[in-house]
């Protein structure tokens, strides 16, 4: 094994480690080993590449490494856990723009032809559109731009038309004979399409979209592998593409929607008709004191967290409440809907951050049969995922979506700021149920009050 061919062996080792890293991620027990495997794999890939004889100057590369690490490390350590969806979107943007820029650089370096050019065009298209789409998703998640869907008449036609033109320019570039402006125009359209893709998508659909962008970033990397004839890139990119794809399918199923519906459906339009239907139906409310005494005397409590818990940063207070109840001998469990929050698994991360043991966190299918024997279902900042209309009201926009059957519990408590309908703007009949108690207030504030009242409860 000579130094000259070291990179080939390094790439093989890297590929194996990257595959193992995803394999080990399947359980919390081995997951951290998975991250280590991924890191070492990446190190092999980078060192192997640096030692290739094609790489002649190191100056710029090293400077770039330093800048990248100086930005990346604080980003990972300083971001609060509630900002993980934004951070992930931002990370996708960086990865995607890297792929796109390499594609562009390769294009101007030696104007490849045939299959390589086709791969390069796909790499560039996916890279640029994922870049701007991820930036737009970041802006929505960070609430720099309105999170509700922005729609206008003929939007889908404009978007698809624009995409078609971009693809045509791409094909022209591959076939050959395209003028000099074709490639830059193709780049601009790809960038523009990314933004237009995200504008009509509402915050509630973000889990699917983030998963989809994750998949695109992987596909861009794999396309780069084809363009550069580099199989390590193909393997890593394909793994990532497959992972993002599965997650977005899981998210779509959890909302009973199709890909096309998420991307072109513009959820916002449906809601205008249904939002105003229920105005003055009576609801039962309760104080923190009532809530504390009911919780203290129950045997089994299931907590249903949603995005509202994340926004209010209430997870630590929820942990305190859990500890108190457990000490009193109450069985406390958590029910996690797949699309609760703004990205797949969002709630699990927040509850883990608050130090809640992960064996208390249950998936929808596992916990649903248990609601009939649950004394209190405590809904904190979740809305559509507990709306019984999804089961029976064929006119409801969320009809058919699998939900958490909290209405089957003896008592349902819902912590909510006000009666304003949730993100999708759909009224929730759960709130008017006889067995439902509405606890109006900020999630964090109200849970703290319950915690305060708890010692006084009999």
């Amino acid at each position: 094994m000579s130094v000259e061919h070291f990179w080939q062996y390094a790439y093989i080792v890297a590929a194996v480690l990257i595959i193992l890293s995803i394999k080990w991620l399947n359980s919390p027990a081995t997951a951290r080993r998975g991250v280590q495997a991924g890191q070492i794999g990446m190190l092999f890939a980078v060192i192997g590449t640096l030692l290739r004889h094609e790489v002649m100057s190191y100056q710029w590369i090293l400077i770039a490494f330093v800048i990248g690490s100086a930005v990346g490390a604080p980003l990972a350590y300083l971001m609060p856990m509630t900002a993980v969806p934004q951070l992930t979107a931002l990370s996708h943007a960086f990865g995607a723009v890297a792929a796109a820029l390499v594609g562009t650089a390769e294009y101007y370096r030696h104007y490849p032809t045939g299959f390589q050019m086709a791969a390069l065009v796909i790499e560039t298209l996916l890279g640029y559109l994922t870049f701007t789409a991820s930036i737009a998703a970041f802006a929505k998640l960070q609430e720099l731009i309105p999170t509700r869907p922005l729609t206008y008449k003929g939007q889908n036609i404009v978007n698809l038309g624009l995409f078609a033109v971009a693809v045509l320019l791409g094909v022209w570039t591959v076939v050959g004979g395209a003028p000099g402006w074709a490639f830059p125009a193709f780049v601009v359209l790809s960038l523009l399409f990314g933004v237009l893709l995200i504008i009509p998508i509402g915050g509630g659909d973000m889990p699917t979209v983030i998963a989809l962008l994750n998949s695109y970033a992987g596909m861009a990397a794999a396309a780069m592998g084809f363009a550069l004839n580099n199989r390590l890139l193909i393997i890593a990119g394909a793994l990532n593409a497959a992972s993002g794809f599965i997650l977005s399918v899981v998210m779509c199923k959890a909302m009973n929607r199709s890909f096309t519906n998420v991307l072109f459906g513009a959820f916002g339009q449906v809601t205008e008709s249904t939002a105003a239907t229920t105005t003055a139906k009576p609801v039962r409310t309760a104080t923190a004191e009532d809530a504390a005494s009911i919780l203290a005397t129950s045997r089994k409590v299931v907590i249903v967290p949603g995005y509202g818990m994340a926004v209010a940063q209430a997870q630590h207070k929820v942990r305190e409440l859990t500890d108190m109840l457990v000490k009193r001998g109450v069985d406390v469990q958590f029910a996690i809907h797949p699309v609760a929050g703004r990205m797949p698994g969002h709630m699990n991360v927040l509850l883990a951050e608050a130090d809640i043991s992960y064996d208390r966190l249950h998936e929808m299918e596992d916990i649903n049969p248990e609601f009939t024997e649950t004394d209190v279902a405590l809904v904190i900042g979740a809305n559509d995922v507990v709306n019984p209309a999804a089961r029976h009201d064929t006119a409801s926009p969320i009809y058919g979506m699998p939900i958490l059957d909290v209405d089957k519990a003896q008592t349902v408590m819902v912590i909510k700021r006000s009666m304003n309908p949730g993100f999708a703007g759909i009224d929730n009949e759960l709130y008017y149920n006889d067995r439902t108690l509405m606890l109006f207030g900020d999630a964090k504030g109200f849970v703290s009050e319950i915690v305060k009242e708890m010692p006084k409860a009999a």
């Binding site: 394999k23 650089a105 390769e106 994750n214 390590l232």
Partner: protein, 97 residues
């Protein structure tokens, strides 16, 4: 179609199916860390970025784009792996004190 391309397509297909199999086994509990880990892995495009930036015969324009790509993918790698580990450290099985 050259054998090289044919081989690459086989590699892609096998890796994609392997990915589908592996990811299916990941518990929904860990979907967020999964996403940030695969995100860090997709920054493997750093390989392409290094090759473009370091190549002797690259025009200046390509080198500049390449260097920016190295910066972007390094940010992606570093933040992706670190945040994944930070998240996973929090997943513990324990009883309240």
């Amino acid at each position: 179609m050259s054998t090289e391309i044919e081989l690459s397509i086989y590699v892609f297909l096998l890796a994609a199916f392997l990915g589908l199999e592996l990811v299916h086994k990941v518990s929904p509990l860990l979907h967020t860390p999964l996403m940030s880990l695969t995100n860090a892995i997709s920054a493997i495009s750093v390989v392409g970025a290094i090759l473009v930036t370091g190549a002797g015969e690259s025009p200046q324009f390509s080198k500049i784009l390449g260097a920016i790509a190295v910066v972007a993918s390094t940010i992606n790698i570093v933040s992706g792996f670190l945040i994944t580990d930070r998240m996973l450290k929090m997943f513990r099985k324990k009883e309240p004190k």
